[in-house]
Symmetry: C2
Subunit: 344 residues, 2 copies
């Protein structure tokens, strides 16, 4: 019963060390298994749309969830103009806690962890939805999330060929350079149209906060799987509406996706399938090689919960910091006495 | 533009040092001024009831708010059976962030800080509501919050006499012992009835999670101010309903208090006054020496926000820890490159 005051903390530096020690591809694979396990027990989770505080410059959100034994939440911001001042558009941290006592058991950076869990979720979904044997992926948007997506699709789906496009040529160069040692065949494309040619999986992961049309209807052939990551808040979409109408659409949590995802362009009763139902086998995912499947991903609290669970299970002496975060008086009723006894 | 990765962290130990360095009474007085300033600009705050995750053993809550420039939230649990395992019933931590960038600017323990802000809020409210010249306070419930209440009422309202009662005699002994050097006249009472005799202010601050009746109607004479702290969640009240019917009731945020406060015993349209309206002078507080005023306090996010603002203004080199909590890649789009370059 000692050290009740301590909460383990994983800093950015420690997170990088954990990732490099496990290896990024094994980690993405393991984390996808944690996420898949939580999607399998989707119904037991306490789910609610995120709690958002909007301002002119961006949004700050809290994303809580619980499986009845553990409770997790993520703090995450989205501020598109942050890059002007050298800051990240998105930063995040999160906490895992014990439901029985309410005591936090992990505080972790989640900027890197969110990039990892987003990629692991995308690839896990694609394993259930993409055409079998798919190994060529177009990736439109080559920013901060792109390399994580590429490696997750390699580790989890066997993707070995990348067709890259970004309106910012430097982003594509950076992505190519960062992935140079991972054995992909990489084709840098001059247009989004060129990138999707021959691709079996199309990942859209751009960052513009507006209604954009990264893909038009004529660009998308039959049989592909679309992994739509970038459209993730009200007013921000990437796909032309006509593509959505031709696709079978899979989502995380409809209540949230209808507000934030590509399907904000559709009627509120447009049919969508919840991904967890495919994963548990309740509903079929891909039913024909000509079908267009679309994972309209916005990111959901359960995925962060799975990622925090994974990191908690990686805690070893030396790979995290012990934070004196909880008051632990000698007797619980004597909080003031603890203060008195701290007097020099 | 350096150290964008750093978030200042105030641990429990560092919080105790800040409190002892400033001095507990001056700190309570200063913090009450921050809280009062925020009540004065109540209307600009983004207010919503807390987001609660209930379980058999207790509750975990997130309490966010924002004034448009800063954003704050508190994580707090309430687990009455925690004391059996030597844990605190309530622990808390919180974050203050910059609305313009979404970047956190402070992470702080809030178990001690919540005790301080609760006491400061009570005394600040009493300064507006208690009979003038009141200096005798009954305090029913002598647990973890009691000494903080006593000292806040001394620093802010001039209370010099305490009439103490708790069903647990040891709690009263502990409270008496802890306050021995602060110059109060302390009367230990055998019953709640005895404690309220002659008191001008009655503070109820018990912890039982049930409908309790700490005060019955016959015990409360005209002209007193009741500071009701303990009734703060659904199913937990301290006062007999008849007392409420004889009192003018002041609350923090009616939407929350009607669910959690003493007034959960009353009709949903029973008239109450919002404390901020008294503080801004929009509405009169006490209007006669015979009136019973009742502050039905449940604790609101704005008070935590004020407390975090206060602590941020106390940050000096050496009184906090710099946490590497935010990813800060050389170029914002190159999160993966940051990971690559961390390779040994």
């Amino acid at each position: 019963m000692k050290n009740l005051n301590i909460v383990p903390f994983v800093s950015v530096d420690q997170m990088m060390k954990i990732v490099l020690e496990v290896g990024i591809e094994p980690l993405l694979k393991d984390m996808a298994a944690y996420i898949e396990a939580d999607f399998k027990r989707w119904e037991i989770f306490d789910k609610s749309p995120r709690v958002a505080a909007h301002s002119i410059d961006g949004v700050i959100e809290l994303m809580p969830t619980s499986d009845g034994e553990a409770y997790g939440f993520k703090y995450v911001n989205g501020h598109p103009s942050n890059t002007k001042s050298g800051r990240q558009t998105v930063t995040a941290f999160g906490v895992l806690a014990d439901v029985a006592t309410g005591y936090p058991v992990l505080l972790s950076e989640m900027t890197l962890l969110t990039a990892l869990r987003t990629a692991a979720t995308s690839a896990m979904a694609a394993r259930h939805l993409a055409p079998s044997g798919a190994h060529i992926m177009a990736m439109i948007g080559n920013g901060a999330q792109s390399e994580f997506q590429a490696l997750a699709f390699r580790a989890i789906c066997g993707v070995d060929t990348l067709r890259l496009y970004d309106i910012d040529v430097e982003a594509t160069q950076k992505c190519t350079r960062n992935l140079a040692d991972y054995g992909f065949k990489i084709i840098r494309c001059a247009t989004a149209q060129e990138a999707v040619e021959g691709a079996e999986i199309i990942t859209t992961v751009t960052a513009d906060k507006q209604y954009a049309t990264i893909l038009t209807d004529n660009m998308v052939g039959t049989g592909v799987h679309i992994n739509a990551i970038g459209g993730d808040c009200p007013g921000k979409t990437e796909l032309h509406r006509d593509i959505l109408l031709r696709s079978d659409i899979f989502v995380e949590f409809p209540e949230q996706t209808r507000i934030e995802g590509e399907i904000q362009q559709l009627d509120a009763d447009h049919p969508v399938t919840e991904l967890w139902q495919v994963i548990t086998g309740k509903v079929k995912g891909r039913t024909s090689p000509r079908q267009i499947t679309l994972f309209d991903s916005v990111g959901f609290a359960v995925e962060d919960f799975s990622a925090l669970r994974y990191i908690r299970d990686q805690l070893r002496p030396g790979n995290h910091t012990e934070l004196d975060m909880l008051a632990d008086p000698d007797t619980p009723k004597d909080l003031f006495g603890m203060l008195l006894r701290a007097q020099p």
